[in-house]
């Protein structure tokens, strides 16, 4: 996903434009300054890999990376993305699965899967910041991501393996 350029403008021409990098692609969007990033992604850009769960920053389903830092996209407005580097789950997918995603599969760290993109983004954020985080650090990094299905059994196995591996 590079080399192309995305432009999106809404009917309301009085809206300002915002330019930011989305998964490595320069993206220009004309929209209300206060439009939530989660709506830009899910509705305007049809990138529904980022989920929506509570809209108050309590469940982590909408987690994305902004300049490498995990951020709830439900609490981020369009103007806050100006000039920033926004990465979503769609941007994580290369030729093959990365080790975190692969471990999620192998350890049964997902069931319905609705929290999984957010979980993966939170962990990726930590791994960007720190190459070898401890188990406790990883646990803390996803303590703002709710999983209602697994009881965190599989997720704990993933963290344990990552911290040992």
């Amino acid at each position: 996903m590079s080399g192309t350029k995305t432009e999106l403008s809404s009917v309301e021409t009085r809206h300002p434009s915002f330019v930011f990098s989305l998964n490595g692609v320069e993206t220009k969007i004309q929209t209300a300054s206060s439009r939530r990033l989660v709506d830009l992604l899910r509705t305007d850009l049809d990138l529904p890999g980022t989920k929506i769960g509570c809209e108050i920053g309590r469940c982590g389903a909408c987690m994305v990376l902004i300049d490498g830092k995990p951020s709830n996209s439900c609490l981020t407005m369009a103007y806050q993305c100006e000039g920033k580097d926004v990465e979503t789950i769609e941007g994580m997918n290369g030729e093959s699965l990365d080790p975190v995603q692969k471990l999620f599969l192998e350890e049964g760290a997902l069931q319905c899967g609705y929290c999984t993109p957010g979980m993966v983004m939170s962990l990726k954020g930590l791994l960007k910041e720190k190459e070898k985080p401890t188990y406790e650090e990883m646990k803390e990094s996803i303590s703002g991501n709710i999983c209602r299905c697994t009881g965190y059994g599989g997720i704990n196995r993933v963290l344990r393996k990552l911290s040992e591996g």
Partner: protein, 770 residues
């Protein structure tokens, strides 16, 4: 079989829908969109009890961008829904019974316009007294919430003479237990997209646990034939029972047909909280007595269930609670009464465990208290009273021979947590006290006697040369697709690429009954058993016709049909599935229809098949704050063969943590009929910081001789028995019995009338005083 490591007879298998989930590529039904779609929104009453006098939608209709505005007058068919009893209006007509009652719905070009339109709808009402407890609703001067009264359903069961028996008891314990209004809190809220098709037909893409049931209910509302409605019901971002009943569907369907455009709906969390189902809060009074030998001889139970404004499955949930208030214990004298009471509180309905969780908390609490009273080990007391292989079921009905309770009673004593010796109190944090507790339960699967419980499936060799199975079930995370894949690979020894699994789409699948009640694994297992031989016969007969190879030497395998190995020679490839499919003029297919096994005795709600579980929990209680940390949970589950070890483990781990929430933190609080915990800032569910790192899960697979009913589902059983184990552990740690869930830290702090004693001996004395 210990399930935590990959040392099982079957290896762990990656779920087939997993890759699309970890990459975010899977489109859930609420992620779907359609060109020119409208956004559907619902106007809710906001008041819990009122007479609705008028609704004026004229201003909303004039707003540019609004395409459709509907009220009760616009429902062409039945203005009502409800799986068991359709007494919930799609739109209120005259009486508002809860704050989530729908007054009107709007379809508009954008969410913002739809929201503005809702504000422009005017409705007048006259408030009525709020019946916010079952007690108020039962009082003689209470206004009636439904024409038939304020009681949805009553149960009663008795045997022997309980009053006389109490007189003969050596010890009696009487206690009232209360359980919370737990929220399903699936991460994906209710929603979907509703697409009008040619000739007045409709396609519904919306999560449910029974696509054909939604089709039937929607046909009733829309006044069109069921066949004109296609329901695509899978994949789903979690349900736990909470999406079993209709939610957005009536509104989306009506708006799509009236506007002629696709309508997308997706509840906010707040709307999901207000409108959605919850677990029935129950008040369970139990009086139970034992004789000198510690044998239960009398058991009296009264269950009051707050069913909220409408029926949905409140009746069957009470039936289930009634049966499980006796559970796996043999008691000669029983008197049991239950009432499901309408109130102006939300709506209670189907939720993982289905009424079992509440009464098992009470029943196991009684066992622990009786044991303490007669100074017998609580596990020993259970053993003296457990059912044996050929005993009748809890309601005196004949059941399949079942000694699961004894199996799990035994097996829990081998788990790491059971064997762990108590760790000494920390010198640094003497205010942290620890305890362990155990509990046991039996849990029925299937819908029970008196409710139609059909099942079925199809298998065929499709045009692409794949073995294709089709079931009217849904994948909401439980792992049905993975379990089916494993079963199919076992049956046909083929490659994953040779398989095609179709579920959750009424245009493509046969009716299979609901994906609820721990029934799905069991039913697809049975369906494949029924279809395998006739399907293989058809395949091999055709191959014989084509190649002359003898039928009895043929077998399925990787990519196609093989001829079995002869002495000294390897097996021989005969032809590919594609070649076989291409040479068929008639598709090779089989189907099956049958019912979930049910007791022959006419005992409403009585079950025939059960799973059993025992659980041990370890807690740390902070005596300065009253906060509880669950530091260990081990589960034993007896539910027949483990088909999918990773899926099984996940169901128990996940069910267990949902039960941890039920026990110590979760409660959807209401005040005067209004929710006060409207989102995850105040309704807390466990995070990774709140759970033990490892839960050991042990599966007992041996079924009694002659049991041909195969693997039972385990979707619910991990969630039913943890609460009493935690409460028993808290008692051990603090000396305090808890009767109301979730455990209120203050009730634990009250143990100590004086400042917390730092000296261990002092603390011990304090406990003895309690």
């Amino acid at each position: 079989m210990h399930l935590n490591e990959q040392t099982n007879s079957r290896p762990w298998r990656i779920r087939p829908d997993g890759q699309a989930k970890v990459t975010g590529e899977l489109r859930y039904l609420t992620d779907m969109t359609s060109p020119g779609k409208l956004i559907g929104r619902v106007l809710r009453s906001g008041v819990p009890h009122a007479r609705l006098l008028s609704v004026d939608t004229s201003k909303a209709k004039e707003l540019p961008g609004v395409v459709s505005v509907l009220t009760s007058k616009d429902v062409p068919g039945l203005n009502g829904f409800g799986i068991a009893e359709p007494n919930q209006p799609v739109f209120c007509e005259d009486l508002i019974r809860y704050e989530g009652d729908a007054i009107a719905a709007v379809a508009a070009e954008t969410n913002e316009i739809a929201e503005r339109a809702l504000e422009l709808i005017e409705f007048e009402y006259e408030e009525l007294p709020v019946l916010d407890t079952p007690e108020k609703a039962l009082s003689s001067d209470a206004p009636l919430l439904h024409a038939e009264g304020n009681i949805l359903h009553e149960t009663s069961y008795s045997k022997g003479d309980v009053q006389k028996a109490f007189n003969l008891c050596h010890a009696i314990v009487e206690e009232t237990y209360e359980t919370p209004r737990q929220m399903h809190a699936f991460m994906e809220t209710e929603g979907g997209i509703f697409v009008p098709e040619k000739h007045g037909k409709l396609t519904v893409y919306s999560p449910t646990q029974h696509g054909y049931k939604d089709q039937m209910q929607l046909a009733r509302i829309l006044g069109i034939p069921a066949d004109d409605i296609r329901v695509v019901s899978s994949p789903i971002g979690g349900s736990f029972g909470g999406k079993d009943e209709l939610n957005v569907q009536p509104f989306g369907a009506l708006l799509a047909l009236s506007s002629g455009k696709p309508v997308k709906m997706h509840y906010s969390r707040k709307e999901s909280v207000i409108a959605g189902l919850k677990r029935h809060p129950m008040k369970v009074r139990m009086k139970s007595g034992v004789n000198q030998k510690g044998k239960l001889i009398a058991h009296q139970v009264e269950i009051i269930s707050d069913t909220g404004a409408y029926a949905t499955l409140g009746g069957p949930v009470l039936n289930f609670a009634t049966e499980h208030a006796i559970g796996c214990y043999i008691i000669p004298h029983i008197e049991l009464k239950g009432k499901a009471v309408y109130t102006n509180n939300g709506i209670s309905g189907e939720f993982r465990g289905f009424g079992g969780n509440q009464v098992i908390f009470a029943l196991e609490g009684q066992m622990d208290r009786l044991a303490e009273k007669i100074n017998v080990d609580p596990w020993e007391l259970r053993s003296r009273n457990l059912r044996t292989l050929h005993d009748l079921g809890p309601l005196g009905q004949r059941v399949l021979p079942n000694d699961g309770p004894s199996q799990v009673w035994e097996a829990i004593q081998e788990t790491p947590l059971y064997k762990k010796t108590e760790h000494p109190p920390s010198v640094d944090e003497p205010w942290i006290v620890t305890g362990k507790g155990m509990s046991l339960a039996m849990h029925g699967s299937g819908l029970g006697y008196g409710i139609p419980d059909p099942a079925g499936g199809q298998i065929r060799l499709n045009e692409q040369g794949k073995i294709e199975v089709a079931f009217g079930h849904e994948e909401f995370g439980q792992g049905l697709l993975g379990t089916l894949e494993i079963m199919l690979l076992d049956h046909f020894n083929c490659d994953v690429e040779d398989l095609e699994i179709i579920i959750g789409d009424t245009a493509l699948v046969p009716p299979s009954g609901s994906s609820t009640a721990s029934r799905t694994t069991n039913m697809v297992w049975r369906a494949l058993q029924n279809m395998k031989r006739p399907f293989l016969d058809k395949l091999f007969f055709k191959v014989n016709e084509l190649t002359g190879e003898p039928v009895e030497q043929l077998q399925t395998g990787k990519n196609g049909i093989w001829k079995e190995a002869k002495q000294g020679e390897g097996r021989e490839f005969v032809l590919t599935f594609q070649e076989l499919a291409a040479s068929c003029t008639e598709p090779l297919k089989c189907s099956t229809e049958f019912d979930f096994p049910v007791t022959p005795d006419p005992v409403i709600g009585g079950h025939y098949l059960y799973g059993s579980t025992s659980v041990i929990a370890e807690v740390e209680v902070n005596m300065l704050t009253g906060m509880i940390r669950v530091t260990g949970i081990d589960h034993v589950v007896a539910a027949g063969e483990v088909v999918n070890p990773l899926g099984y483990l996940g169901q128990i781990e996940g069910g267990s943590i949902m039960a941890l929430g039920f026990t110590i933190i979760e409660d959807a609080l209401m005040e005067n009929g209004n929710y006060v915990t409207k989102n995850f800032d105040t309704y807390l569910v466990p995070t990774i910081a709140d759970v033990p790192e490892i839960q050991h899960v042990e599966a007992v697979e041996e079924l009694p001789e002659g049991d041909v009913h195969g693997p039972r589902g385990v979707g619910e059983i991990g969630s039913v028995a943890l609460a009493p184990a935690i409460v028993s552990a808290i008692k051990q740690a603090t000396g305090k019995w808890v009767t109301k869930l979730p455990v209120n830290p203050e009730t634990i702090l009250n143990v100590w009338d004086e400042p917390f004693p730092m000296d261990k001996e002092e603390r011990k004395k304090g406990r003895e005083r309690v």
